[in-house]
């Protein structure tokens, strides 16, 4: 059973995703900030990470992604460098920006971006697709 870590500071969003994923046989662990997320990654070793962009600050999610994808061989997260990252963002609404892995992947290796609110079907589709690719 694949373990999915959801890092998002919105309790209700986490809950909605957790229910959707658990009902479909996934094991879900939640963290409510970027720092907590990084700590949890090491203890849980998730198969996939769902990451919100804006948490304690506007780019907390990006910082987590950056730390995970660090090319530094001595990085404490080196083992999770290839863990699929699904980024959930509402930043495009706030900042007028859109992200996609094809154009923005060079500077941030994220496997997929989804905009909030994510319909349950879309979430499941993306999670399954990413897990099957890795």
């Amino acid at each position: 059973m694949a373990t999915i870590l959801i890092i998002d500071d919105d309790f209700d969003i986490v809950e909605a995703m957790r229910m959707t994923l658990e009902a479909n046989g996934f094991n879900v662990v939640a963290a409510y900030s970027g720092a907590e997320g990084l700590r949890t990654i090491k203890t849980v070793a998730p198969d996939l990470i769902i990451l919100d962009v804006m948490m304690e600050d506007d780019t907390a999610g990006f910082k987590v992604a950056w730390t995970l994808r660090s090319p530094d061989p001595g990085s404490e997260f080196a083992a999770f460098r290839n863990t699929p990252l699904l980024m959930i963002t509402s930043i495009s609404e706030k900042k007028g920006m859109k992200f996609n892995p094809e154009t923005d992947g060079d500077f941030l290796s994220v496997d997929e971006f989804l905009s909030k609110p994510v319909p349950p079907k879309k979430l499941l589709e993306s999670v399954r697709a990413l897990l099957s690719r890795h």
Partner: protein, 448 residues
């Protein structure tokens, strides 16, 4: 509005410079006159004119050099005083009260009226009167004899003291009248200048205030909308999860209620999104954030996204875009927002089986004209001028579709105008509407 004259003080230094500049010509003219006099009338001693010219030159050099140290006001008064003295000497050597140069007193009075205040000008005028009258009386009474010119009769104004007094009286009156009139006109001009400056200042302040208010409004809308959007997205996610059955089974009534709640939330999210679009529409875009966008690609994508709705209403969509290589320099989301709103409206307000034409063509002045015309319900003529107002919806549109924010067209207008373009509309109720947008573009090749 009480308008005061602008203080003379502020431009006095400039006036000092101006006076000094003019005096170079006066000094040069006097020296030239002395030299010409020597050559043309050798029997008359023209050297006093040469010395006078040099004296004018000398005190002008002094005033120019002292400019940083001598107070401008004192400098001006000293200069005028020395000018009176120089003019009096010039007149004395060129015919006294009959000298043609006596008219230069009048000219200098006008110049003084421009640079000093009214009462100071009157004082200076009185000095000029005292000097000219004293010179004339001294000359008439033989105490300061002017040089005589060969072939020129004795100075007629000195023949008769009464006649000389009448002449001097008239001359003094003219000087005083000119001072009064010149200072009056100058004061009027200064008042007008002050009122213009004040008006300009008020306009500048009002403009900055309006810009600040507009930015504050946009910022407010952005923050509030985001704060609203977060909880709305969370609510929608929870309801969706429940509706999809992940929280257990639902009976029909609960399902119906949740679906209704979700529809209302979607409405609210749309509303908030439009408010965000509106605030973004008026936000200026930094040059580095602009990208080159192929207009053709962008409109094609929006049309593709709308295909399902077009098919559902069995509409005929006719697209004719000429010059496919034309580039719009800006934000892709802005451009798509414009097309999305206009095409969306055409689809929404055109009855089943109707037609929509999308025509794009390049105009000679590097503007791209887009026309989106439909055979929809149209807009009542009396409401046409208000269709781009925020929150305005035409009466027949409200009847046709209950929901709608009335923000779409104001978003379109603001976004287009941000790029220096414009939007226009023509419409006939029951026949349809035609929106024309003019976008500034870059053409890769004139032939495309």
């Amino acid at each position: 509005m009480d308008i005061k004259e602008p203080p003379l003080k502020s431009d006095l230094p400039e006036r000092v410079r101006w006076f000094v500049r003019l005096r170079w010509f006066a000094a040069g003219g006097t020296i030239l006159m002395g030299l010409l006099g020597r050559w043309a009338v050798p029997e008359v001693d023209a050297s006093p004119l040469l010395y006078l010219g040099l004296a004018i030159l000398a005190y002008n050099v002094v005033f120019r050099s002292l400019r940083p140290w001598l107070a401008a006001r004192l400098s001006i008064h000293l200069q005028i005083f020395l000018d009176w003295l120089a003019l009096t000497v010039l007149c004395h050597f060129t015919g006294g009260a009959d000298s043609p140069f006596i008219l230069f007193f009048l000219l200098h009075v006008v110049l003084s009226a421009i640079v000093v205040s009214q009462w100071e000008c009157f004082l200076q005028g009185l000095l000029a009167i005292v000097m000219t009258n004293t010179m004339a009386l001294l000359e008439a009474t033989g105490r300061w004899i002017p040089p005589s010119f060969p072939g020129v009769p004795e100075l007629p104004r000195y023949e008769n003291l009464t006649y000389l007094l009448i002449f001097l009286g008239a001359f003094d009156a003219v000087i005083l009248s000119i001072i009064y009139l010149s200072t009056f006109v100058v004061r009027q001009l200064r008042r007008r200048e002050a009122s213009l400056l004040e008006l300009q200042d008020n306009l500048r302040r009002a403009y900055h205030h309006a810009v600040e208010m507009d930015e504050a409004k946009s910022r407010f809308v952005r923050i509030v909308s985001h704060e609203i959007r977060g909880p709305l997205a969370a609510s929608q996610s929870l309801i969706k999860v429940a509706l999809d059955g992940y929280a257990g089974g639902l009976n029909d009534k609960v399902r119906e209620l949740l679906e209704r709640a979700e529809r209302r939330i979607v409405q609210l999210i749309d509303y908030v999104n439009e408010l965000l679009d509106l605030s973004r529409g008026s936000q200026r875009l930094p040059e580095e954030d602009k990208t080159d966008i192929l207009i053709y690609e962008s409109i094609t994508r929006i049309i593709k996204e709308s295909e399902a709705r077009v098919a559902e209403k069995q509409l005929r969509l006719n697209v004719q875009i000429e010059h496919p290589h034309v580039i719009f320099r800006g934000d892709l989301q802005d451009l798509e927002r414009i097309f999305h709103n206009l095409l969306g409206n055409a689809i929404k307000y055109t009855p089943r089986g109707g037609a929509i034409d999308v025509i794009g063509t390049l105009l000679p002045d590097n503007f791209f004209l887009f026309k989106i015309c439909d055979t929809g319900i149209g807009i009542p003529a009396e409401e046409l001028p208000r269709v781009f107002d925020e929150f305005f919806r035409a009466t027949n549109a409200k009847k046709e579709l209950k929901t709608g924010t009335g923000l779409g067209l104001s978003i379109v207008k603001k976004t287009i105008e941000k790029y220096g373009g414009r939007v226009a509309v023509t419409s006939v109720v029951g026949e349809g509407s035609c929106f024309s947008i003019y976008l500034p573009v870059i053409t890769l090749d004139r032939s495309v």
